[in-house]
């Protein structure tokens, strides 16, 4: 075990070049996934979580492109840019970057596996579950013939499919949603990757099944010592499964903390608002939903991107773009200028409105 993080993402920028303009879906996020940990990536729909995930695997489809940043995985450069050496404005791709075919043969599936959101859609309906599982194992583990089948059945048993040698020859539509999700986890695990990225894997499942799947993942993580990057919008899952959490808003990470710190002492108003909007057993009274919806990433608000929905917003917020910085003695980071009182005029500037939120609501219409 080395001390370097398994996955290191630095200043990643992924943009979509559409006719309506450039969508800055991921705008300079940085985070690390340590070996053996489960890192949460939380945010509303449209925050850029999925694009971040696609960027890590270099699967961003046209018109999207990774325009800047650096992603290193276990010593290999997945994405790397150098400052413009050829006089153009754009940074240029670095030489040491893995080629597309190296990405395919060395990283995807092999080192980083992906579990998808919708178990109903993520299995090919025309092939049996076993065939698909075998295909993935064959490609990524270099097994062949009978060994593949044996490994496939073994892994189906591990993820809790009853009678795996019979179910092996069943088609996806003969499985329930929870069972399919188990199969997807089996497909990811069967390749024995170092990192599994789970892109909202329990969203389509009911709560009981979700609980079972989370338990399963927890057990498997102990057995396999795999790292997880868990993408979700569900704070309940975060609390249950993650070690550390990154909160994303409109393409940026606005808070990073250990899971306990995040829940007991959130430092960013957005995180606070998120937590206020979900029922918690230790909190009486009415829920306070977060008003408005996330602006378009095509034309993000000036200054702090959250200011038009933020209950604590002041005038300074519209001018100053906050950086993610450490705000407590623990490893808790937040991007909000109310923690930067000495450098900005947050304290002195006037509140945007007592109901800063509703004003923004009118503006966005």
């Amino acid at each position: 075990m080395s001390d370097t993080p398994l996955l290191k993402v630095e200043n990643l920028k992924t943009q979509f070049f559409t006719d309506a303009g450039t969508v800055r879906a991921v705008d300079g996020i940085s985070f690390t996934v340590e070996r053996g940990e489960t890192l949460g990536l939380v945010g509303e729909s449209g925050a850029g979580k999925s694009v971040a995930v696609q960027s890590i695997l270099r699967l961003v489809d046209s018109p999207g492109r990774i325009v800047d940043g650096e992603i290193t995985f276990d010593g290999k450069t997945i994405v790397g840019f150098d400052e413009d050496t050829d006089g153009t404005e754009r940074p240029v791709e670095r030489d040491g970057m893995l080629s597309n075919s190296e990405m395919r043969s060395q990283i995807r599936g092999n080192e980083i596996a992906l579990i998808f959101q919708d178990p109903m859609e993520s299995l090919n309906p025309v092939f049996t579950v076993g065939q698909q599982l075998c295909e993935f194992i064959e490609i990524n583990r270099g097994l062949s013939g009978k060994a593949v089948r044996e490994r496939a059945i073994e892994i189906l048993r591990e993820v809790g499919i009853p009678q795996p040698d019979e179910r092996f020859d069943d088609y996806p539509h003969q499985f329930s949603g929870g069972m399919r999700q188990r199969v997807l986890i089996a497909m990811a695990l069967g390749c024995e990757p170092k990192l599994i990225i789970a892109d909202e894997p329990t969203t389509a499942l009911d709560v009981t099944v979700e609980g079972q799947i989370l338990d399963l993942v927890y057990d498997l993580q102990e057995d396999y010592d795999t790292s997880f990057l868990w993408v979700t919008h569900d704070m309940g899952i975060v609390a249950e499964i993650c070690d550390r959490v990154n909160v994303m808003y409109l393409g940026e990470i606005i808070e990073r903390a250990g899971v306990d710190d995040l829940f007991y002492d959130p430092q960013h108003p957005y995180t606070q608002a998120l937590l206020n909007s979900i029922p918690r057993p230790n909190q009486a009274g009415e829920l306070q939903p977060l008003k408005g919806s996330m602006p378009e990433a095509i034309d993000p608000p000036s200054g702090c991107r959250f200011h038009d929905r933020c209950p604590d917003a002041r005038e300074a917020c519209t001018r100053t773009h906050p950086d993610l910085r450490r705000v407590t003695d623990d490893e808790q980071w937040a991007a909000c200028i109310k923690h930067e009182t000495f450098e900005t005029d947050y304290e002195t500037s006037r509140r945007l409105s007592p109901e800063g939120i509703s004003v923004a609501g009118e503006n966005s219409e």
């Binding site: 998808f116 959101q117 993520s122 490609i139």
Partner: protein, 315 residues
Amino acid sequence: MSDSDDDSASTQTSQSGLADITTQLRGNSTSRWGLYIIAVVITVAIWAFIDGVLLGYHFAETYWYSPVTAEPGARSLLPPVGITNEFGTGVWAHPLGTDHRGRDILARLVYGTRIAIQIGIVATGLGAVVGTIVGAVSGYYGGWVDDLLQRLVETFYAIPFIVLMIAIMSTFGRNLWIAIVGVSVITTPVFARLIRSEVLSVREEEYIEAAKAAGVRDRNIIRRHVIPNSLAPVLVQATLQVGVNILIVAALSFLGFGAQPPTPSWGAMLAQSRTYMLPNPWFSFWPGLAILVTVIGFNLIGDGLRDAFDPRLDD
């Protein structure tokens, strides 16, 4: 009716893929007729191939009439139905009559089936395979690959097929295999277009994304994931296209570009009977009927397949 409905509903959950489709085809009375017709036609064609091509009309000449050469002294006979047989005897020996050279029309029809089916199925199959690959690659990659392949396809579309066929056959010779290749060339664009549109939606499916994320090669994604999931309309079109191609072949034979005499073929029979159309309409009637029935048979199956593949008609 309700019985068969219950049947198909219960088999749907227990069976999958082809088995389910065949069950549905048999359950539908019109497509069942299509199946019967095509089963008969194909059996006849296989027999014609074995005896005509492999054995040189051995059985036909020994036990029946040769479809190629007329017997000495044979006359042109009309079938007995509806019209008085002005030539007198030999009525039941030739139930469909004999042609202008005295050859038995039924025998010529039977042995002519081979050409129709051979070109119809082989050329359609060839065109479907090539078209599927072209269309799948085109739709999957998009971008300049798509543009290039689709412009190529459109170029073929733009040329009237009969003209193209005649050009091909005058250049390379009037030969059965050239005809097959020619028909498959003009069939390819149909399938390339059809599957491309299907692939455009299939490639956005999450299981394709999952396969990419697992490091599956593009060509394997196309082969194992994209094509099998886009194939339903191709199967339907292929069945319908067999009928169309049989017509094309008949048209070519009619124009003298298909199988060359004395090889029996339906189109050639039509062409030869043209001169005798008024005194002896039966000469033209029988081959026309054979073409009609066969094409209808394939169309019925095609329609049945389309219904079977259509999820909206599942109940």
